[in-house]
Symmetry: C2
Subunit: 197 residues, 2 copies
DNA sequence: TGCAAATACATGCAAGCTGTATGTAAGGTG
DNA sequence: CACCTTACATACAGCTTGCATGTATTTGCA
């Protein structure tokens, strides 16, 4: 059995592997130090590749951050979908989705990446677009159903405001706020809106 | 009348003047380009001073940003205080304060500085501490008065969540959201919370 | 199977930025 | 009027980013 003979990997495999290593290393450093304080030499050292690889896979440092953030948002979205897709009734789906959101947000670094860094690095619009999937649609639908008198403009606004409250709750929890309290208060808030008119 | 003879200014005057010029130039560039994309050489060129002056007045670039952000937060706080201090009853003070907040947030650049850049540059905690004065206390007091059964922990949480909603409303308005709609929906939201229980 | 082309990555380099150290001029003080 | 302090200016070292160019591996194809 020949040793040291590097297995002939396909380009796709090589590519996927280095890309994954870059994403992982970048995520850790972005979480720990923030985007601005993280240098690309540090990222590639941690990933075990060179800066050439980084700039081959990503347009620039910001593009790498975008990829990290998108992956993170997708993980959240997937978790919420997995928890809610079995729930049929919209009322219950909202509360389930809410709980799933808070669960997902407990994963270390998510809040830092998506709520603190992303708005500044990618801009507000891109940042909200990232979290667009995070239960926002379920929320909008629930509100729309419960408040048929409201215009879609009003529903959109309300969705944004409640979504912001969810985000802030996650943020505060990360910074030591009490999980149970914030979940309670958040549910109370949504509940009152739903039965309001 | 002697011309060109530079008036003998006091140190305090010199100091205040350069500092003001730096703050003004920095504000413009931070708003236009964001913190990371703004270079100190550009700031001092715009201010008509040298980098030496900048680093004499401020510890580093972040410290300059902090000063700009603090000035901005104070302007908002002053505006809200001016509008609300004549209003006696807490209920009315809240609605007046809310309107004053939205008015204040229309000043160009404020949202960019305080809601987009500040959290990433100064950290979430410092950023919320900055806006701590922006009607947050009136809000907390109003909630506390209207919801006597709630624990102070719950009041704090609710205050944070509604405060986040206010912030998001300002953000969305800046990005083209309809001012009237957001004000309406925000008032509805607060109103429902107040009469809830 | 062997060779050319494409892909994936490595290395070297130029430009720019930050923060500090050191130099100078103006203002305050006894 | 001399000394000290404050306010600023200039020079420099160390990094950082992104690109340009070089090399190795893989793939397509005759």
């Amino acid at each position: 059995m020949t040793v040291g003979k590097p297995a002939r990997r396909s380009q796709a495999d090589r590519r996927a592997e280095t890309r994954a290593k870059l994403l992982e290393a970048a995520r850790e450093l972005f979480v720990e130090l923030g985007f601005a304080e993280t240098a690309t030499p540090d990222i590639v050292r941690k990933a075990g590749v060179t800066r050439g690889a980084l700039y081959h896979h990503f347009k620039d440092k910001t593009d790498l951050f975008r990829a990290v953030a998108e992956e993170e948002a997708k993980a959240i979205s997937d978790h919420i979908d997995k928890e809610t897709h079995i729930v049929a009734e919209p009322e219950q789906a909202m509360v389930t989705g809410s709980n799933a959101f808070f669960e997902a947000m407990l994963v270390p670094g998510r809040v830092r990446l998506l709520m603190e860094e992303a708005p500044a690095v990618l801009g507000h619009s891109a940042a909200v677009a990232l979290t667009r999937a995070n239960g926002t649609e379920e929320l909008r639908e629930g509100l729309s159903r419960a408040l048929p008198e409201h215009s879609s403009k009003q529903i959109d606004a309300l969705t944004n405001l409640l979504s912001a409250a969810f985000d802030r709750a996650a943020l505060e929890i990360t910074y030591g706020g009490d999980l149970v309290t914030y979940k309670e208060v958040m549910h109370q808030l949504v509940g009152e809106v739903l039965k309001g008119k």
